[in-house]
Point group: C2
Chain length 404, copies 2
């Protein structure tokens, strides 16, 4: 292909992308497999919780007023009239002036209104001696005090964590609607790449491992991975087959004669943008085949990560219901050295942080390698309209290691 | 069992635990399955990278001095003498005064020392016209400039993220040593719990879903889940079988007559602590059977989460090589209301955050439910020696939602 005539602004590309991405249609799953998925609908309580009045502690079910004066000058005894275990179908009725031994979680017997904890009482010869009084209502969890039937427990859009799975289980909910999981295809279109054995002038293919992990992190799954290096027909075929939500083409995006990704996408569907004002990923491109979003990512791994984080990852996260926010936590840091950045281009600038929160820019531009990437702690996007930042400037850094 | 006579300080329990936990023996895995695992050894580069001198851009391989003066007053032409593709086994030698078309990543021919990018040149009739000069070394990635054989690329202890997997792939490394993955057994020992159908005075079992997600988050896997409610022999058996690293017993940890977890652990192995000054999980316990750590967790899900986050999760993360730090990101927040906390006890206090960073304490103590937990955004541990914090105090909140 000819050299790039111009580079589209990243903001314009993201605008195009955001108009064409929305959470995938929801699917029904069991909560047990839903850790990390995004709720597609509100979860409304199907029952009161607790579903019945119950003892909040192990102890003795009583009428609270019957223990009035306990712990005063004389001993206070009530006859032990029975025992109620957790799960007991029929806890019966507390006789006047009596006490039932009761387990935490067990249903409160009729006529009882309080539970004296074990530390307040001692059993002897069919009697319970109380050393402290309990007020009516004490240590009783009344039906519906946690939540009532119809209450909105979890909102649509919630990414399900451990505590949410506990809420669903406590409600006996066995199926939920969650945002669909984006299905991705990797297409490795770069030339001169080795798999297991490396030819003398080849380098090992590294984008498949990178992209599979990134897609998984962003809520998707790689369904297929095709090597099509040097085979334009196989590349076109890999773009034309439907049945995935996103296709990530790694390599072949540049301006060389053997770089076929852009022309293959133009033939197979729509090449919306090729050449983006984004360093170090200027040769990135975006388009569609039918409803499948296609991203052309530079093959060089650092540039591939830059293009993924700046473009494809955002689309995957929107499809998965995660929203547009980057997946990395942010922290403030002070620049140890200035960052220079060309006007008109967004720079994906890696930095290393020290313990004091000082950020050292590792490099800008395109010719920086994997070792520096591994050494980085995070990155920042220097905006298009900025020429960079002076030493001492405070910046917000996205942290690579906060995403597990 | 009798009521608790005293409650051990959480710090003493953690000291005991930390002395008995260390990363599990490493295992060998393929990098493709190692996303999120922890390196057990340094990764040392087995090759120089790039492994040969190569073109950094698509363009024309030349002697830089041959382009001196290009872009001046007259046209500068060099004869096109060949083409070098990426992966080319033998790029040959550049004839004096000539140019080779070259792809990004392709090996530099002998005698060439620079690559003129496509934008600097135009081909016509077997000649290349250069419109800008390139200096010797320009756009050439020399062998070993990213890293050299023997360089330490990734340190032992590193949790492997996407970029690390790219580094491993680029090195052609097919097997790595990572910290072992803790194997956990869940033992559900609470009474009155329903699975699919709920009896009138039962509640649905919720700890299995909670704990399975927590264990997965902390680098482990639940291998088996046993329901032993009301069956002391089955509980003892579940504790006695070896072959896991951690046993989490949910429920049955209290002081009631049917709470058999502590006595079963004392019989099966060592009950090191039972009764911990930790709200809302005072009935938690810790011990061992052989080398297997056993945690007794209260059955009530909020208390179960408190005990897991305060005790068991820390142990799992150390075993998995993650270290002792909590898995939740932290942020500063200002308390909207005071938090009261009893001296001598650590309080696991849930808070809700508003957009301005104000934290509303949801409740302290034990009788707070799942709905409030779902509504919380994070929590803090109020230390043993603190009576809490006044309204307006700045506190560090651990965020529940930052752990995906």
């Amino acid at each position: 292909m000819p050299p790039f005539a111009r580079f589209e602004s990243l903001a314009a590309v993201l605008d195009w992308l955001d108009l064409r991405t929305a959470p995938l249609p929801p699917e029904t799953v069991a909560p047990a497999g839903a850790f990390g998925r995004v709720l597609a609908e509100d979860i409304v309580a199907p029952l009161d919780f607790p579903p019945f009045d119950r003892a909040a502690v192990d102890g003795y079910a009583v009428r609270g007023l019957d223990t009035a004066g306990a712990g005063g000058y004389g001993p206070l005894f009530l006859p032990l009239c029975g025992e109620i275990a957790a799960g007991c179908a029929d806890p019966g009725r507390l006789p006047p002036g009596g006490a039932f031994r009761i387990a935490a979680g067990a249903p409160l017997p009729a006529a009882a209104d309080a539970v004296a904890p074990l530390a307040y009482a001692e059993e002897m010869a069919g009697q319970v001696e109380f050393t402290e009084a309990v007020a009516p209502g004490e240590n009783v969890a009344r039906r519906g005090t946690d939540f009532t039937q119809g209450a909105r427990l979890l909102p649509a859009g919630r990414r399900l964590g451990p505590r949410d799975l506990a809420v669903l289980a406590a409600c006996g909910i066995g199926a939920i609607r969650v945002a669909g999981r984006p299905r991705a295809r990797l297409v490795l279109a770069g030339a001169g790449l080795a798999a297991a054995e490396r030819g003398v002038h080849e380098v090992f293919e590294a984008d498949a491992a990178l992209l599979a992990a990134l897609v998984a992190r962003d809520g998707g799954g790689v369904e297929t991975c095709r090597r099509v290096a040097g085979d334009p027909a196989a590349l076109r075929e890999a773009l034309s087959e439907p049945a995935v939500d996103v296709i990530l083409v790694a390599g072949g995006s540049g301006e060389g004669r053997t770089d076929g990704a852009a022309s293959a996408l133009r033939e197979a569907g729509e090449l919306a943008f090729h050449g983006i004002a984004l360093e170090p990923a200027r040769s990135a491109g975006v388009g569609r085949v039918g409803n499948t979003l296609v991203f052309l990512l530079p093959g060089e791994p650092v540039a591939c990560l830059c293009a993924y984080d700046s473009l494809a990852g955002r689309a995957l996260r929107v499809l998965a219901g995660f929203g547009t926010a980057p997946p990395y936590p942010q922290r403030r840091a002070v620049l140890a050295r200035k960052i220079a950045s060309a006007l008109g281009s967004v720079d994906y600038c890696r930095v290393r942080l020290d313990a004091a929160g000082t950020a050292e820019p590792l490099a800008t531009g395109r010719h920086t390698g994997l070792a520096a990437l591994a050494w980085a702690d995070g990155f920042l996007w220097v905006p298009e309209d900025s020429e960079g930042y002076p030493a001492g400037a405070e910046v917000a850094v996205f942290l690579y290691d906060g995403v597990f």
